[in-house]
Amino acid sequence: METSLLLFLLLAPFAGFLFNVFFGKKVSRNVSGTIGTIAVAISFGIALNFFFQINSTKKPILIELFHWMTLGNFNVGFSFLLDQLSILWLLFVTGIGTLIHIYSISYMHDDENLHKFFAYLNLFIFFMITLVTGSNLLIMFIGWEGVGLCSYLLIGFWYKNQEYNDAAKKAFIMNRIGDLGFLIGIFTLGYLFSSVDFTTIKTAVASGQTVDLGWLGFGTFCLFIGASGKSAQIPLYTWLPDAMAGPTPVSALIHAATMVTAGIFMITRLNFLFDLTPNIQMIIAVIGAITSLVAAFIALVQNDIKKVLAYSTVSQLGLMFLALGLGAYEIAVFHVITHAFFKACLFLGSGSVIHAMHGEQDMRKMGGLRKYMKVTYITFLIATLAISGIPIFAGFFSKDEILMVAFHENKALWVIASLASIMTAFYMFRLLYLTFFKEFRGTDEQRHHLHESPSLITFPLIVLAILSTVGGFISFPGHSWLNEYLKPIFIRAREEHHVDTTTFMLMGVAVVGALIGIGIAYSNYIKKSQVPGADNEITGFSKVLYNKFYVDEIYMAVIVRPIYAIASFSKNFIETALSGFIFGLGKVTNMVGTQGRVLQNGSVGFYLFVFVIGTASIIAYLFLAQ
């Protein structure tokens, strides 16, 4: 029963994928989209079912399908694990997935490759489910790479544009760098524990099996590299903003809500290992904090609506990593969930805007849209409040908990995180003001076409806005349902910080900080009616920020160009030299042959001369030399 349910859960999106690949073109557009949506909805239903089951039984479900690979002295099964963590993830992956599918039916309606879009989305959901439910690192890796593949396919969905293809390729390759780390991590764990199975490793750790902590540290560090690739942390984050080349639903689903959280999922999965290696945790925390700050800085001056959201995603992911690094896995998970709600809502909202603007993404050409798009505006406002950390809204609770933990563990990190939060509030409201307030700055033609999006688009927005509002209550300070729910995942119980004055003080500080950010944005963009200038007018530090600290350029100069240079050098010189050397051997022999022909000069006298000399030398050697 469980097995077949799991198979349904897994294969429903895959069936949707197959249907859309093979028949998508033949059926009408709506059918194609509907089938894709239903496939995901089925999964969502099953996930819900599992959720209720596990809520009552509290027992993880392990399903082994077949024996897959054999490594050294252990086997790797094709098996799946449904426990609290994976079901939680399943829920919001398939849930948000369903909403975004619905949204896409309308959003992508005019695209000639609609059926492919749904096929890829379904495939993505399939791989995401694999990633989340895999019972060992290898199955997880299948999903891990699979979602990477789908991300590649969807970023490059409009494949006629080679720039989009470049972005897709970049995303895939950057992910692959992380994946190598992941692989090495798997190797290390396999070597240390003779298993890559989560349950087995967990049991081993729980039973106090002695492991070489040095190697374990190496392994967890490698895993973290893997996570940072997928979850866009420094130094592997640059692909995420570029990934905005894909259709907006993709950005919402993959690059905000689900795939990018895979790294957090993985680290949470292996929390018991990371707990053993505090050094690595420290690194994770620091990287997370810095990432959140750097991304927030960059987001301050971006003008592309999706780019701002992308950097905001990076920044929020950084916060999650900060939490992970501080050992507060459940808080990270909490933030993942709330972030999934409001960020999906934001992206979909921006998609709605872009839809209305006919593909225009530059905020400088927007403005005053709230008059034209009421629903979009309201939902967007709610999500923005959520992300800025205004109380009641979901983001407030999760972000606040992160800041709190940081405050307790490391003040410096707390400062950084708080700074990032303030900036978040600023740039999100900057985005909001520039887009929805003041007068419309686009062309008349665009103004003429401005309209509220159809209900298929607004419905998901509304649902997500609601979730962004109430989502925070799953982990209300002091009475956290989530923490209780996730307990079985961890080995070490984290000491709970009781709700005390410090807590309230910190909450107050956070809220004040957010309000300060909003206030600055208000004064700049409402009071002073500023509009960011054209690209060439930007100077000073803003220019550095606007150009994203030139990180892409630096990578290009430090890594990509040298590789190309080495490649050219190898191709033009080493290859030629090697080939020339081998060829040269032949050539030299040939040359000797040519020269040797001179000796064969046809003169009997010379021939006999050599004959005699030869004779004389032989006799001399044999009889006189000794």
Partner: protein, 174 residues
């Protein structure tokens, strides 16, 4: 006495051999060569190998040299028409002559046992009269009968060869 004769004969042999080579005119060369052959026959006589000496003179001086002379005459080669040889050729020839002579002689001197007069083996039997030679040459069981007959094949081949090489082409050729 014998020694003197030996040295005189040897001197004639070597001198005439050299002259054969150095004389420009082929006819003169041939004549020097005949002298050389005669002196070698003299050596044979010294060894009391009269039959061999006679055969030698008949074959070499009589047959081979006549053949050579005949050819020279036939081709009207009795001019000194050989081109001036290059210095390199001369040098090479001289060098190789010296080298090979030195090497061979040195090898012989090095390896040669010093034989006193008494060291020579003397059987006292007759071993080189016509009678004995005939027996050795033509005896089937203990002699060189087979090679003797085989030599006939050799001569036959050279005969056919000579004929083949000078046979007129029939009309159909070319």
């Amino acid at each position: 006495m014998l020694t003197t004769v030996f040295y005189i004969l040897s001197a004639i042999t070597l001198a005439s051999a050299f002259l054969t080579i150095f004389t420009k005119n082929p006819i003169h060369s041939a004549i020097y060569l005949v002298i050389c052959f005669f002196s070698i026959a003299g050596h044979y006589l010294l060894f009391n190998a009269q039959f061999l000496a006679v055969v030698h003179i008949i074959v070499y001086s009589g047959a081979i040299m006549i053949l050579l002379l005949f050819t020279i005459m036939l081709m009207n080669l009795n001019k000194e028409d050989e081109k001036h040889k290059s210095g390199l050729t001369i040098l090479a020839a001289v060098a190789s002559f010296c080298l090979v002579a030195y090497v061979l002689l040195a090898a012989f001197i090095k390896s040669m046992p010093i034989l006193e007069k008494g060291d020579y083996y003397v059987s006292g039997e007759d071993y080189q009269s016509i009678k004995v030679l005939g027996q050795v040459l033509l005896d089937e069981k203990n002699g060189f009968m087979i090679p003797f007959e085989f030599a006939s094949v050799l001569l036959l081949v050279s005969m056919i060869g000579a004929v083949l090489l000078s046979k007129k082409e029939e009309k159909i050729s070319l």
